[in-house]
Symmetry: D2
Subunit: 402 residues, 4 copies
């Protein structure tokens, strides 16, 4: 299926946190960027008819449905945007690709390596027919992160020696915070590991251009039982005080692991929802033989760069305010120093996706890139089960080695 008359007709499945963020981006992308196609927010899908109707109205979708199969079957949908919890990614995505729809699938790609392999294989098949697929690791499009990648690729850091990456939150420190879907293995696949750990795995592999080859890991669930939730929104939720039933937390609260990059560097990773005071602290530091780069998502308009090739007495960490017209994605926004926010990473993602689809190019990150993340997540979980023993990350093509 191709873009009709320079229009890209999008159907989105899911309307919660990610649905709202994607909608804001779909609505904005053509207002800010000159693109070869114009997005049409054709349809939104959700299980609850009343809620999805409200969401369509509020978020600006032309139609809605409660049946994602119906959405995929429509002729007037070019691209399916999968914003559901991880347990339905594979089924919806496989069906959409089979129906000849381009697919944007939220991260993590799937809840298991098996699913991710199947999706990657399906994407490869679809790609031969001109169908594009992309996984939504949106942080690659934070301008400072894109700039990191470009600087590393240009050799500005020299040989990479160290990566240290954390993604720290604190929204479940309170043991009375309820058992939302993100704390249930059957829905979420894993806890902090897959939800936020996946982001730092992808981001560091993207920025360094290297893959994680092996890991040693520990995971922990600090609070093993929680009250059942009455309602939730984004990362917030409430407990039904009148019926304080509890359930088992079946995912990790925190995951820490050591890793080696295939270029020879050492790396440390930590994903936790128990880092009191840290709200959305994705922090990455990369030390190379020629310099260092540092990024902090809570100050996402800034990039710190230490250039060890400068005169010794003047070396220092430069705080680059990544808001100039010649910084990635920024020429379309405001004058220098006028900062952007979290949601802009999605607008940038949609910009590149629309352009790729319209021009017949493959967007990144591909499903294969996302599978690579999944393989690392899997290695982390295996190492944690094996007393932190060093565990090689399985090759992406292992299954074809017959």
């Amino acid at each position: 299926m191709s873009t009709t008359d320079r229009e890209l007709r999008v159907g989105m499945v899911g309307y919660a946190f990610m649905g709202a963020a994607h909608s804001q981006a779909w609505r904005t992308v053509n207002r800010v960027y000159d693109l070869p196609a114009r997005v049409r927010m054709a349809a939104i899908c959700g299980r609850d008819a009343g809620k999805v109707a409200d969401a369509a109205d509020r978020l600006g979708w032309e139609t809605y449905t409660t049946d994602w199969r119906e959405l995929i079957a429509r002729d007037d949908i070019d691209l399916v945007d999968v914003c559901t919890p991880g347990d339905s990614h594979a089924e919806i995505t496989l069906a959409a690709l089979a129906a000849g729809k381009h697919v944007l699938c939220e991260k993590p790609l799937a809840n298991s390596v098996t699913e991710a392999r199947a999706m990657t294989a399906a994407a490869a098949t679809a790609q031969a027919a001109g169908i594009r697929s992309m996984c939504g690791f949106n942080y690659r499009r934070v301008p400072a992160v894109t700039m990191m990648q470009q600087m590393v690729a240009a050799g500005r850091l020299g040989t990479i020696r160290h990566v240290r990456a954390v993604y720290l939150q604190d929204w479940i420190v309170d043991p009375q915070f309820p058992l939302v879907w993100r704390l249930q293995k059957d829905k979420a696949g894993s806890g902090a590991l897959g939800d936020i750990g996946a982001h730092i795995i992808d981001l560091t592999q993207f920025v360094t251009g290297q893959r994680i080859s092996g890991v040693s890991a520990v995971t922990e669930t600090f609070v093993k039982e929680r009250p059942l939730p009455a309602g939730s929104s984004g990362l917030a939720a409430t407990v039904d005080g009148s019926a304080p039933a509890t359930g088992q937390v079946t995912v990790d609260d925190a995951a820490v692991f050591l890793a080696r990059l295939d270029g020879g560097g050492l790396a440390t990773y930590e994903a936790s929802r128990f880092a009191t005071g840290r709200k959305n602290a994705l922090r990455v530091e990369i030390n190379g033989s020629l310099g260092t780069l540092v990024f902090d998502l809570e100050r996402l308009n800034e990039l710190e760069f230490y250039d060890a090739t400068r005169p010794a007495a003047e070396q220092g960490f430069s705080r680059i305010l990544v808001t100039e017209g010649d910084h990635p994605y920024m020429s379309a926004w405001w004058p220098p120093g006028h900062i952007i926010g979290y949601e802009h990473s999605f607008t940038h993602q949609m910009r590149d996706l629309v352009e790729a689809v319209a021009t017949g190019a493959d967007p990144a990150p591909s499903f294969a890139d996302a599978l690579q993340v999944q393989l690392v997540l899997d290695a982390v979980e295996r190492s944690a089960r094996l007393g932190s023993a060093w565990t090689e990350v399985e090759p992406a093509l292992a299954q074809v080695a017959v």
Copy 2:
């Protein structure tokens, strides 16, 4: 004229930097907030037919015109949003109010006290007929700034002793930067003083709840002659290299002044476009007998608070990440730690304006508030002309004292 069927039909005059920022906000406000009226982006107006047509298409306005009088005359426009340079604010605004339209006028309200007085008087007359007017000091709606105001009002700082406010930029440090309209007195009224100095005057009066009673000032134009521009966009511009004609800079490059607040505090202000490396550095610190608050627009999601009532050994400047659901305006956005950007202040402004108009309340800042800023600007210019002599800020009601 009242809002028709819970619809607020907006006509905007101007489509440059402010036009784009306002459009993004008008487009977004109902998608994020539950409001008693729905915005309809009815018409946009600009002098160049081709450019305004493009702007209407790109920014999402239903119709366009090159004649602001025609826009004001339309029955299907409820509110006129004035985003033109300062020299036309008064004429457009007075006409719009006379036609019974609600008005949002960008800051500074006017290029002279005389104009600002006339506009304020007209707004008062219109208000009696249920017509609302507001001046676009959008930074009041940065959540951290709103929170500052609330904390001061709640007495958390005690008696205010000091205000120090700077607004620093560097976009004209290069003497070859061309003579854009913002450097011409007839268009812009003044230079750094009115453009960015006005923001820190309004912001500090808003946050402290006090007025500046007198000033001592120095202004300076460091580069007095510049090449004429070939084109400009936002704060960026290009020189026509083939015809390097030059013209006189007729506004200040920088303005510094001392002030007293009517509550007894001392204040210092600096507005400059020659602060190399400072892109959009609006920084305000307020010292009170019980605490201190610090804000920096380049990190607008953060507010620093020093609480001198805490145990002595634990006192320190707390960096509050103003991204929680219980911070002003933030419950509608993303989970904690997911930061917002510059443009969100406009969405918040539109939120409050739509609500005020729809419910028959007066939005703030009023034209009278903006006149107060204009009176300070005027006192600064008079003091600068008089060798920095202490100069009282003229009372807002002086002219009626017959």
Copy 3:
């Protein structure tokens, strides 16, 4: 009098805060630096026999006396270090110079321009006889400040456009803090202005290599009456609760002023003891056409440098950790990143003073430099009395113009 056998025999007058800081430096300087003379801490002088005996013992002085004239009269003293309150600087210094002693006099040089002029004249006379004199603006020897001066002198900032300097403390915010000598005009000369304002005046003139040519000023005493003190130490003091008598505060609590540098730049200055939460916040920012430097005394091991000659997309404020062996004064201390403290500026000062005296060179800052500061302080006070009217700084040689 010359240094005997590579020994420099020091006599110090005063043993309070400055006395302790100077003692630490005298005791340390030869342990850290290779110098052409060895300091001998020969004698200390104070009015209270018991206290000065204790101080001699504790601080490491060989002898003590209660009579500064006796100290000056001793043959075995080469240099007199004047650490008393400002009201006795002139008398002691003039006597010491007349007796052929080198003099280090704490800042501010004197409590009046008249005294400072007399001291400067005496120093010039003594200099002809090989006697050296220096004023103790120790912050010039904070390595980051020395480095700032060197970078400006090397042209790294280009033309200087702006200076903004504050020195903020908060030790008298509490209206019950007692009336110590620093709050009495007859002892201290002035309040925040002379105590801490003098530092930022000297520092900015030193770093820029320019003089302040004129000022517009406001001073304020927020708390006009305070309880009498029972005892004090450093900046801390206690009230005699049993006899809560009060007295008038006769100096400024805060002084703010605008200034012009003789090179064409604009400057703002603020000295205050009412900046809640700011303990010792001497902060200076200098914007030039090519770059910016920023210093903060509370993080005195760091210097921020914005180099506008770097590639545009990589420009940013670099935090230089001024702890490398090739940074000023630092080769004698610890490995990189091992920070130094406040007191080290005194050790560096003594290093340069000992070397100057031993090699027959004139140390800086000279009394003439310190007079220049005094003239600015005087202009500030005159402007404040004259309704902030622009006030030229009197020429240093005015009195000889007969």
Copy 4:
């Protein structure tokens, strides 16, 4: 041997980096603190007669010797301060204790667990005879670190969930940096691990009051061969250009490990000399159920505290400037905001040691505390050798379990 007449006569072995730092502290401690004994810098010992004579003169020691056995044999020495490389710690310390001398031994206590066990046993025996011993983990006496420990002990963090500790330097990033003793296993025992990793192990165990129970580790030597050194000082060194012979690096350049605390928390540790731009970046963050503390040695006067018991909207990381009179060790120094440096931690260490010896108390950290660090270092090395397998830290008393 007891302190004679309120005098504590110190003999120090070693005069390099640590020797200079200890000397500065011994020289200063009685000048700043009121103590029950006065330090006498009786003798210094080093192998090179000329250099040790120079060091004695420069650093202020009364006598010197080239034979540490002679120093220990002297009747007029009360305390032996061992500042040599780790390979001689055990021999000197055991001899000194046997001779009835109090001992301060630099960290790490020894180059092996076996040595450390022997030293701990000897210290226990000596202790029964009133002989005191202490290991020089000086960072415990950085006021902000002491304050962290006090706050954790007071329950301010609640249950500890996470520790993340790094100690990052960059002095050997250049592959041409020579093979100094710190890069040789026979002298140094290990590389980054024992030199700087030991500090963060001790510091985090001290602050949390918990022990590391097990680890999973990776170590790496990035540059395996280096030129031989011509000379060295502190962490700086030069290569003999005329004879560029090389040798093998036999220690780790970097060590990373995961750990569990015996209180249930997860921890990550990283020690590296390859973190470009990080000069002395010991950084520790501790997340508890009620709050978080953050420390950075490059800004050692500051402590960040997040107090999750504050009203939600005002929570933030407070930057406490640990320079007030009521902060640990600070009442003796300068007024608030006047910062201290690296060397002050040694003065504080000597203060507590002198007081302990003079009053007959046991100073901390004891050799048993230092053995605990050694056991962790040992577990790290074992885990690294075993493919990162989870490795329990051996009990301190294992050897007596017969």
